[in-house]
C-alpha cells in the first residue's frame, strides 16, 4: 500500500494536520502536502479515469507534467474542473472529486471501452459511424461527446467568485525556474547589477537538486540552496516569486508569468491569479528536465510511476508509493530512487536495468551494496494488476517478452531517461538539436528566438539545456547568467561557478520499447500518452497507414494533445514513429510547442476588466440626467446615447412616437454632444478640405455652414456632416458619432503621409463641448426666453453659425437642421452642458419641451429623406447611389474617391439608387428586406432588384415610411415592387420620392 512513513517529508509541517475530502471521504494530510502526496499517504492510488478507454489511472508524476491526476475542486462560483493533483497544494477543507467516470471512480461503466479497445485503434472514428448519415449528429456524436471531455462544466448560473489581476514588470534578466541552475544563473546575472526577476512555478526553490542530494562548495545541496536563496533575497536588484510559472514567451521578448496567489489559501482576500506581462532584455529558461516513462505493457496500471516522482514523494512528503517497489530503468538516475527507498526502510525487490551487463558505476555499486538485486539486460514484459500493481513479469530486454520470472510488488518506478524542458525556448521560434548521448532534444544555442533587433533574447541554463551533472549545471548556469547580463548591457563580473562532486555515471541507453521485440498484444497494452490513451500500437498503425509526418501521426492518434500537452509522451512517441519509418528521430522532427506551458485560467487572462469595468463607457455631460429621466440606452461605439426617454406606463415604442410628434409640434431637445467636432486650421485648410470632402469647402464664407460628404479613396461614402467656417484659416467639421476618431485619424493620415508639406493641423475637440439640438416650432421662442444673442430669422439665417451668449452661457450656435424643423444646435463648454440643458428644460416648460432620443432623430430625418451613415450606407454605397450628386463638386480636379468613382462598376447604370418606399397598406416595411425581380440567377438564387435601407412608422404621417436602394429606382416612380418578408408575407411598396414631409423645405426656414 502507499502510506505515510516515519522518515522524510522535508516540505511538511507535521505539526499542522489538515483534513480534506476525496469523492466525499474525509482524509488527513499535512501542511506542505500536495493533493497528490496526501492522497498517496491515504493509500488512494486510483485517482481518475482515462479519456478514451476509461482505464483506471493513478498519479504518474510529481509535478506539472502529470497526465492522470486530474480532479474537480470547489463549489458554486469557485468550482473548477481539471485541476492537477500534483500542483495543488493541500489546504484545510479542500474538496476534490475525480472525473470522467460513471457511476463511480471504482466502477465505471465507460471502462467497457477498454474491453473493446481492440476495435478502437488510432483513427477508428474516421473509419466508422459513416452510415447512415443522420446517425452522426443524432446518435454517434452525442455518445462520443458525453464519453469524452474530462471534468464537468462549471454551471452557467455561477459567476466566477474570484478576482484576477494583471501586473506589468520590467527587468534586465528574467530567470524562469528557481532550481539550482536558475538560482545560480540569477546570482551571476545579479552580481553585475542587473535587475533580475526569478520565477518558480512551485512553492519551493531548489528544484530536483534538494531531493537528489550532492555536495556543492562543501555544503549539502539543501544548505547550498538555502544559502544562495538568502544571498539573492538580500539583494535589492533581485525579485524572487514562487508559485509563478513562466507561461509563454512571445515575440520581441514579451514573457507571460502566471502567479497563483490564493489557490493554496482560498479564503485569503485578494486576487486568485495574477498575470505578469514581463519585458526583460534577456530571459534565461532554467526549466529543468522531465523524466520519460518506459514503454512496457501495463505501464499505465496505478502504482507505475516515474522513478523521480517516487523519490520526490519519499523525500519531500514522507510518502511511500508502495511497500515493495520494482525499479525499471535504462539509466543510472533511477538507482537514486532505489537507494532513497532503501534508506527509508522500504523494500526494493529488484532493479531491472535494460542496459547490457558491464562495469558497475558508482550508483550501481551503491545499490548493490545496499543488497538490492540488479538484473541487467532485463525488462518488464507486463505489469500485473488492474486498479493497482500486484507484480511484474520480467523478461529479457532483447527478446519478445518470454516471462523469466514474476516479482510481486505494489509499485513500479520507471525511468526512460530525461528530456530537457524546451517549451519556453521553442514558443517563439528557438530551434532544437538532437542530443545523441541523452537521446533527447535540447536547445540549439545557434538558433535562439529573435528579438526586435534580431538578437537572441533567450538562453537556457542547467538541465533544460541538456546538462546532467551538478558540475556542468553550475558552470553552464554561471556562464548563462553572466552572458545574459552582458547582453542586457551590464559589465560582466567574475562569478566563479561553485564546485560540486559528481558521481561517475554509466551512459544511458535509449530504450523505446520494452522488450525490444514486443509483439502486438504487448504493444497494444503499452501506453505512450496516458491521458489520451495512445499506445505504441496506435503510433505504429498511423505509420502503417501513411501518417508519416510527425504532425499527421500526432493528429491521427491524438498523441500529445491532452492537457499535459505531451510532456511525458512526446519523445517516446516520436521514437516509435521514427522506428516504424526506419529513420533517425531528428529526421522525423518534433511538433511545435505552443504556449502556455501548462494551462492558465481564463479568468486570469481577462484580468480586472469584467462586469462594470469590462470596457470604459463614454458619457456625455448630461448622462446622469438622461439616466434619471428614463433613458433607454443604445450603445454607439463606446458611447451610450438615449434611444428614447420612457415615461411611466409607456413602452419604448410609445415613447418614440410621443417624442417624434412633440418635436414636430412643440419643442424637442437632443443631446448631440457625441457628434464629432474636428478643428481643421491653417493656411492650407481650405485646400485640404477640398481633397477630403466631395464638395467644395474652400469657397465657404466665414460664418456659414455647409453639409459635406466624405469618401474613401476607394470611392465609398464614409461620413457626412456640417462644416462651419470659423475664420479664414479655421473650419469646424462635424462628423457622425462613430466617425469622430476614425475621421480624425483619416485626416491625420492624409496630412502626415501624403500632403505633409501642406500647412494644416487638426484637433479633435469632440469632448470639449456639450452640444444640444433645440428643435421644433418653438425652438426660437425657447432661445429667446433664455435671452442673449439675436436668434431671429433676419439676424441669424439658416446654415449660419454665430458665437454669442444665451441665458448667460457662452455659446456657439449653428442654425442647421437634421429634422426638417426650425432648429439650432448650441455648443457650450462641456463643463456647462448640464446647466445649459437644465436652463433649456426650464424655459421650455411652457413651450412643450421634451427630450428626444436617437430613434426619434432617425424618424425625423427619414421623414425628410435625409440619409444616415450606417443606414443608407454600408461601405458599398457611393454618393451617386444616394442622389447626392449635388454635393459632388464638378469643378474640382481631384478629391479622395474621385478616381475610384470613375471605374466601370461605379459608373454602371445597374447600381441601385435611393428612393422612398410607401407600403400600399400603410404598414411598415420589414427593415433590411429585399425586393425581388423575375426568376433566378445562374446559381439558382432569386433575382433581387433592391433593398430597404431604413424603415419606420411615422407618427406624423401616420403610416410606414421607408428608404431603399432600387435598380433604376428614380426612373420607376409610382411602380409597386414586392419585398418578401421572413414572416412569409409579401410586402408591396410603391416607389416614391424619399422626401415624405414638408417637401418644399419651408419649415426650417421660418
Amino acid at each position: 500500500m502507499s502510506t505515510r512513513i516515519a522518515t522524510g517529508g522535508r516540505l511538511l509541517n507535521k505539526t499542522k494536520s489538515l483534513s480534506f475530502s476525496f469523492n466525499g471521504t474525509i482524509l488527513k494530510g499535512f501542511e506542505g502536502d500536495t493533493l497528490a502526496s496526501a492522497l498517496l499517504a491515504n493509500d488512494q492510488v486510483l485517482m481518475g479515469r482515462s479519456f478514451k478507454y476509461h482505464r483506471p489511472r493513478g498519479v504518474v508524476a510529481s509535478g506539472s507534467e502529470e497526465p492522470n491526476g486530474l480532479v474537480q475542486m470547489g463549489e458554486g462560483g469557485k468550482f473548477e474542473p481539471n485541476q492537477r493533483v500534483t500542483t495543488t497544494e493541500l489546504f484545510e477543507g479542500l474538496k476534490a472529486k475525480s472525473q470522467n467516470h460513471w457511476p463511480s471512480l471504482e466502477y465505471d461503466v465507460g471502462a467497457l471501452n477498454a474491453k473493446l479497445s481492440r476495435f478502437m485503434p488510432a483513427g477508428f472514428y474516421y473509419k466508422m459511424f459513416i452510415h447512415p448519415r443522420s446517425f452522426w449528429k443524432h446518435v454517434y456524436e452525442p455518445i462520443i461527446r458525453h464519453a469524452a471531455g474530462l471534468g464537468a462544466a462549471p454551471k452557467a448560473t455561477d459567476r466566477d467568485a474570484d478576482t484576477y489581476e494583471h501586473f506589468y514588470a520590467f527587468c534586465d534578466v528574467l530567470v524562469i525556474g528557481g532550481g539550482l541552475a536558475g538560482l545560480q544563473a540569477a546570482k551571476a546575472a545579479a552580481a553585475t547589477g542587473a535587475k533580475v526577476i526569478v520565477a518558480e512555478q512551485t512553492a519551493h526553490l531548489g528544484g530536483r537538486t534538494v531531493v537528489d542530494g550532492g555536495t556543492i562548495d562543501g555544503k549539502s545541496a539543501e544548505d547550498f540552496v538555502t544559502a544562495i536563496t538568502a544571498e539573492l533575497e538580500a539583494m535589492d536588484n533581485v525579485t524572487i516569486r514562487t508559485r509563478m510559472m513562466g507561461a509563454g514567451v512571445y515575440d520581441h521578448g514579451y514573457v507571460l508569468g502566471y502567479e497563483r496567489l490564493t489557490d493554496h489559501v482560498p479564503e485569503m482576500a485578494g486576487p486568485r491569479h495574477r498575470l505578469w506581462r514581463i519585458r526583460a532584455a534577456q530571459t534565461i529558461t532554467a526549466t529543468g528536465a522531465i523524466e520519460r516513462p518506459l514503454s512496457f505493457a501495463g505501464n499505465d496500471v496505478p502504482g507505475v510511476m516515474l522513478a523521480s516522482a517516487i523519490r520526490d514523494y519519499v523525500v519531500n512528503y514522507g510518502v511511500s508509493s508502495g511497500d515493495r517497489t520494482v525499479v525499471v530503468t535504462n539509466n543510472d538516475d533511477a538507482y537514486r530512487t532505489a537507494i532513497a527507498l532503501k534508506h527509508a526502510g522500504l523494500d526494493v525487490p529488484a532493479i531491472i536495468d535494460a542496459r547490457p551487463a558491464g562495469d558497475d558505476s558508482d550508483m550501481m555499486a551503491q545499490a548493490k551494496a545496499l543488497g538490492i538485486r540488479v538484473m541487467m539486460a532485463h525488462g518488464i514484459a507486463t505489469v500485473q494488476g488492474g486498479k493497482r500493481v500486484t507484480g511484474v513479469e520480467v523478461c529479457a530486454q532483447a527478446g519478445e517478452g518470454a516471462v523469466l520470472e514474476e516479482i510481486a510488488c505494489d509499485a513500479v518506478a520507471m525511468s526512460g531517461g530525461w528530456s530537457p524542458v524546451v517549451h519556453l525556448w521553442s514558443h517563439c521560434g528557438g530551434k532544437l538539436t538532437w542530443d545523441e548521448s541523452q537521446a533527447s532534444f535540447r536547445p540549439d544555442s545557434n538558433c535562439p528566438p529573435l528579438g526586435d533587433k534580431g538578437q537572441g533574447f533567450v538562453s537556457v541554463a542547467g538541465a533544460a539545456n541538456g546538462e546532467t551533472t551538478l558540475t556542468t549545471i553550475l558552470a553552464n548556469a554561471t556562464s548563462c547568467g553572466k552572458v545574459a547580463a552582458k547582453a542586457a548591457g551590464f559589465k560582466a563580473k567574475a562569478t566563479k561557478a561553485p564546485e560540486a562532486q559528481d558521481a561517475v555515471e554509466r551512459a544511458m541507453l535509449p530504450v523505446w520499447l520494452m522488450p525490444q521485440g514486443a509483439g502486438y498484444k504487448l504493444r497494444s497494452k503499452t501506453w505512450l500518452d496516458y491521458q489520451n490513451d495512445v499506445k505504441v500500437s496506435d503510433v505504429q498503425l498511423a505509420a502503417q497507414e501513411g501518417f508519416t509526418s510527425v504532425e499527421h501521426a500526432k493528429r491521427y492518434t491524438t498523441l500529445g494533445m491532452a492537457t499535459d500537452q505531451g510532456k511525458l509522451s512526446n519523445i517516446n512517441g516520436l521514437a516509435i514513429l521514427s522506428d516504424s519509418l526506419n529513420q533517425p528521430i531528428p529526421q522525423t522532427g518534433t511538433t511545435t510547442f505552443r504556449p502556455p506551458y501548462t494551462p492558465i485560467s481564463m479568468g486570469s487572462i481577462g484580468g480586472e476588466a469584467r462586469g462594470d469595468v469590462f470596457q470604459p463607457i463614454r458619457r456625455t455631460p448630461m448622462y446622469d440626467w438622461h439616466e434619471e429621466n428614463g433613458a433607454n440606452w443604445e450603445p454607439v461605439g463606446q458611447w451610450r446615447r438615449p434611444y428614447a426617454y420612457v415615461q411611466s406606463g409607456e413602452t419604448v415604442h410609445d415613447a418614440v412616437m410621443r417624442e417624434t410628434k412633440n418635436t414636430r409640434e412643440n419643442l424637442g431637445l437632443l443631446d448631440a454632444s457625441t457628434l464629432g467636432k474636428l478643428i481643421v486650421k491653417g493656411p492650407d485648410a481650405g485646400k485640404f478640405l477640398d481633397m477630403l470632402y466631395t464638395n467644395m469647402m474652400s469657397t465657404l464664407k466665414v460664418g456659414k455652414c455647409r453639409y459635406g460628404l466624405m469618401c474613401s479613396e476607394n470611392g465609398f461614402l464614409i461620413d457626412d456632416g456640417v462644416v462651419a467656417r470659423i475664420d479664414d484659416e479655421t473650419f469646424l467639421c462635424h462628423t457622425t458619432t462613430g466617425g469622430a476618431e476614425t475621421i480624425h485619424g483619416h485626416m491625420e493620415e492624409w496630412l502626415q503621409t501624403e500632403w505633409w508639406d501642406w500647412n494644416v493641423y487638426v484637433a479633435n475637440v469632440t469632448e470639449q463641448y456639450a452640444q444640444v439640438a433645440v428643435v421644433g416650432p418653438n425652438a426660437r421662442k425657447a432661445l429667446e426666453a433664455l435671452g442673449g444673442m439675436d436668434v431671429s430669422a433676419d439676424a441669424f439665417g439658416f446654415m449660419e453659425w454665430q458665437d454669442g451668449t444665451l441665458g448667460g452661457f457662452d455659446v456657439r450656435a449653428y442654425r442647421i437642421s437634421f429634422s426638417g424643423e426650425l432648429s439650432y444646435e448650441i455648443a457650450v463648454p462641456a463643463s456647462q452642458g448640464q446647466s445649459f440643458w437644465d436652463a433649456l428644460m426650464a424655459v421650455g416648460a411652457d413651450l412643450g419641451v421634451m427630450p428626444y432620443g436617437t430613434e426619434c432623430l432617425h424618424i425625423l430625418r427619414a421623414e425628410k429623406g435625409f440619409i444616415m451613415i450606417g443606414d443608407e450606407t454600408d461601405g458599398t454605397v457611393i454618393p451617386q447611389d444616394l442622389g447626392l450628386n449635388w454635393a459632388i463638386s464638378k469643378k474640382k480636379i481631384d478629391f479622395l474617391g474621385k478616381r475610384a468613382q470613375q471605374r466601370e462598376h461605379m459608373l454602371s447604370d445597374q447600381r441601385w439608387k435611393l428612393v422612398g418606399l410607401e407600403t400600399v397598406d400603410k404598414s411598415t416595411l420589414p427593415d433590411g428586406s429585399y425586393a425581388v425581380g423575375e426568376g433566378t440567377n445562374a446559381n439558382g438564387q432569386r433575382v433581387m432588384i433592391g433593398r430597404v435601407t431604413s424603415s419606420y412608422h411615422s407618427p406624423n404621417l401616420d403610416r410606414g415610411i421607408a428608404m431603399g436602394l432600387v435598380l433604376h429606382g428614380p426612373d420607376r416612380m409610382g411602380e409597386v415592387i414586392t419585398f418578401p418578408g421572413t414572416d412569409g408575407k409579401d410586402y408591396e411598396a410603391k416607389i416614391v420620392s424619399p422626401v415624405f414631409y414638408d417637401p418644399e423645405g419651408e419649415k426650417p426656414n421660418v
Binding site: Y250, D251, H252, G253, Y254, G429, L450, G451, D452, K453, G454, E713, N714, G745, E748, E749, Q752, T753, E754, W756, I893, D894, K898, R899, A900, Q902, R903
Partner: protein, 109 residues
C-alpha cells in the same frame, strides 16, 4: 507583442500603442491615372516573405505616422523612419543590406 520605436516622439513602446497601416511608399494615383496604375496603387501589394517597408501610426501616443522596415519571417525591426519621405533613408537600407544581403523593395535595395 512587437516593440517599435516611434521616430517622431522617440518613445519605444509595445505594439498595442501603435496601429499598423500597411505597405509604405505607395505612390498615389489620382483622376488622370490609368486603370492599372490605380488598381496597383489601391490593391496590389508586395506581401513579401522577408523585408517589408510599412506604415505605422503611434495612435495611442503622439499620433504621428512613421515607417518601419521589418522582416515578416522573423519580425525583426531593422529600423523606423519618418513617413515624410519617398524612399527609405540610406542608413536604414545599409542596416537591412548588412542583415539581408541582396534584398530589394521595388526600386530600392
Amino acid at each position: 507583442m512587437l516593440i517599435l520605436n516611434c521616430p517622431c516622439c522617440g518613445i519605444t513602446a509595445e505594439e498595442t500603442e501603435f496601429h499598423a497601416g500597411g505597405e509604405a511608399h505607395l505612390k498615389r494615383f489620382g483622376p488622370e491615372s490609368s486603370n492599372e496604375d490605380f488598381e496597383n496603387y489601391l490593391f496590389m501589394r508586395q506581401n513579401p516573405k522577408g523585408v517589408h517597408l510599412e506604415r505605422w501610426r503611434h495612435n495611442n501616443g503622439c499620433g504621428k505616422w512613421f515607417h518601419a522596415a521589418r522582416c515578416t519571417m522573423t519580425l525583426e525591426v531593422f529600423g523606423t523612419y519618418s513617413a515624410q519621405t519617398y524612399e527609405p533613408p540610406k542608413e536604414i537600407c545599409d542596416i537591412i543590406s548588412a542583415k539581408r544581403p541582396g534584398w530589394s523593395w521595388g526600386a530600392f535595395s
